[in-house]
């Protein structure tokens, strides 16, 4: 993308309403704009981050055998009356009445709808297990929206649901999603720590939260640092094998990790002192096993292998896709701006043309830009070098390729790594081979 023609409105001033770094930086870097309280428009650079995160989620969901589908944002209140949650859910649920005076709601989660679809479709234990997910906009009418996309009202979320024939298979589904989540977060370049959690309004017996460490997090957390160092991508745990999944779950459970509500001083004291980490954390995902809670209430039964009916066991699995954009920034920024992990960065590199209109600089920039095929942002604005440096740091591209007249004469460009701050004079070829 050429910055001179792009809709990426960076701001020099810090917006007064933004209290935390990610909110400030998302506004200043031109990623989002608020259009109503807790409701945001995603501008082109912001959408690229959201898409990158969603793509990683999709790839890992597919690898774990989950099928993508898409549920509507609005649904009938009747299903939620069946489960009893229409009345139980607080004023966070946005209730809507249509022109025929029928009650609708903007779904904050979809246990009822997916159970309804499953009971229409799945008639036999032979059609189980099923693992379905979507990435869709949801709404929670927060009383006091704040922190930008971290606690907005309209938010983008992956929600998945498993249906299994028995407890053993359901727990395997739960563990499969846990493994998938650890791989997903690691690929995004953030370290999320899995922690045993309360089940809250979804209910159920077993739940884990996935927490990214950041000073502005909403909860205090305590964990063994080994959990940050496990390599979930290289580990040999198979998604298919129940024993593998049990071993993986056991490994996770063997290291201490808890939020404040679940903190156990005795177990914490048993963690080697060098491994103890505590700090604030942001929840970016949560998974639940809740057995037959919804299938029972909504009368979802299938034929079992012995002719008797069985009630499928369920779990649900959430990742806060739009929230992750904020959480990643909270975990990865400095005074100058965002430091994007490469896997989610809106652009792999910025090409900074320090002398727009100079034939040599223009030619070198265009040559480099063409090589990236859309993955780089070309700063071709007629602006001073200082402004370009500041904007590139603010936007947080992993690499900056800086093209000035002196370098062009010498056949070199300057290559800056945003995370380390190192700058080197290198040939164009060498810059490209490093970055591409």
């Amino acid at each position: 993308m050429r910055l001179s023609r792009s809709f990426i409105p960076t701001l020099k001033e810090t917006p007064a309403e933004a209290q935390i770094a990610s909110h400030r930086l998302m506004l200043r870097a031109g990623l989002v704009r608020q259009v109503a309280s807790g409701i945001y428009a995603w501008l082109p650079a912001g959408l690229r981050v959201l898409d990158n995160i969603a793509t990683l989620v999709r790839e890992e969901q597919a690898a774990a055998g989950a099928q993508e589908m898409l549920m509507p944002t609005l649904q009938s209140a009747d299903l939620w009356r069946e489960s009893g949650r229409y009345d139980a859910y607080g004023p966070e649920m946005l209730r809507i009445r249509d022109r025929h005076e029928r009650d609708l709601l903007y779904a904050p989660t979809n246990e009822e709808l997916i159970t309804d679809l499953a009971r229409q479709t799945i008639k036999s234990y032979r059609e189980l297990p099923q693992m379905l997910y979507q990435i869709q906009w949801k709404f929670r009418d927060e009383v006091r929206p704040r922190f930008g996309v971290m606690r907005g009202r309209e938010f983008f979320m992956k929600d998945g649901y498993s249906f299994d024939r028995d407890y053993e298979s359901a727990v395997a589904s739960y563990r499969r999603m846990m493994l998938s989540y650890m791989r997903t977060f690691q690929r995004m370049g953030v370290r999320a720590i899995p922690m045993l959690a309360d089940t809250g309004p979804i209910g159920g017996e077993l739940s884990h939260e996935f927490i990214v460490l950041a000073p502005t997090g909403e909860s205090q957390v305590f964990y063994d640092s080994t959990l940050e160092e496990l390599d979930y991508l290289k580990s040999d745990f198979s998604y298919e094998n129940h024993e593998d999944l049990a071993a993986f779950h056991g490994l996770i459970n063997s290291y201490y990790a808890a939020t404040e509500e679940k903190h156990d001083e005795a177990r914490w004291e048993a963690v080697p002192a060098a491994n103890r980490r505590s700090g604030r954390g942001i929840e970016v995902g949560q998974i639940f096993y809740f057995g037959t809670k919804y299938s029972d209430k909504m009368n979802f039964r299938v034929a079992g292998h012995d002719g008797k009916t069985i009630t499928p066991e369920m779990g649900s699995y959430g990742i806060g896709v739009s929230r992750l954009v904020g959480a990643i920034i909270e975990a990865s920024h400095d005074e100058a701006g965002i430091i994007w992990p490469a896997a989610v960065a809106p652009f792999r590199a910025a090409i900074l043309n320090l002398r727009v209109g100079d034939a040599g600089c223009d030619r070198v920039c265009e040559d480099i830009y063409a090589k990236f095929g859309g993955a780089a942002l070309l700063d071709d604005r007629d602006e001073r070098a200082g402004g370009k440096f500041a904007d590139a740091d603010l936007m947080g591209h992993p690499w900056q390729i800086i093209v000035g007249p002196r370098g062009v004469a010498a056949g070199t460009v300057e290559l800056k790594n945003r995370a380390t701050g190192t700058r080197e004079e290198v040939s164009v070829e060498s810059a490209l081979s490093r970055v591409l």
Copy 2:
């Protein structure tokens, strides 16, 4: 995808509520399920079609220089009060009140919101032109939703908006989108005819509708068949060149095409008799040039080159993404089911294992399936051949690769082309090279 493990619930019976072919076939082929009046869940196979259509739209929008962004589904009523449309829009607008008694609405279109974002951001004529678009869910509270996704309430739509410094540039943007749309529809495998149209509630001076011919269409249309035969992909009209765009627009205008409301008998009589086509049509897109209608009302001004302020000229550009799924089926089906154009088909091919459990059939099927890397559907259900043939025809895969014990012994498979119905005995290699 393996059909035995998939959430693709095909139906043998025709659902009573479905009045038209696309609605019947989308339910029977397991693409969607209705979850409330005019509100649908997209099951895995349906979502693949929706995604394929959206991908083609994105590719052609990018080629035409449009930038993707994403606006929220809900917005404040205040912006629509500024334009005067909050009161002018009928009961089709879904009006919502949040917990703080603030008026929200579920956007049916986004001229106000995009104008608000543009006026916050664009301050000088030098930042124009800008072309922005999104693909997002919208809501229109139809009094009588029907015809499945063709006239649903929650629908998926691409809406784009252009901002230009003057009339000439604005008309060039309009023409660029017109060319982009013709290419997009042609790539999808449907023939959409561009027709001069009324501007309706969006307003403005110039508008074209894009109409797919189908017996169940909502309007009667009349056009010169040359418009069906122009090759918009091979034509040399550049997106960049204003003269090229004017020539393209002139070419389109030189052939007669009108809906009933705009029909002109005298001009129709002048069309060579062999070229006259009339029939029912389904609108799948519409574009508008409306000048300063919104920028003026919402006080969007930028600095001009001479120091005076100018009011940007605008246009808006819609494609009904979810509606297209229905429209394509209306235009391309037979008694047995859907006939997907290859570019939008959920699966390029179905592999039909006629003897599941037979070592030879299983091995040949798995080998072929692996070659497709997810682009084929493997019918590995333990069912009779007749049911598999019927489901494959119903689902409308462009190709069927039929694997039975006799063929396996002879080293061949049967290859069926869904559109032509031809069946041939060919080697596995030859089947793969034809289909992949």
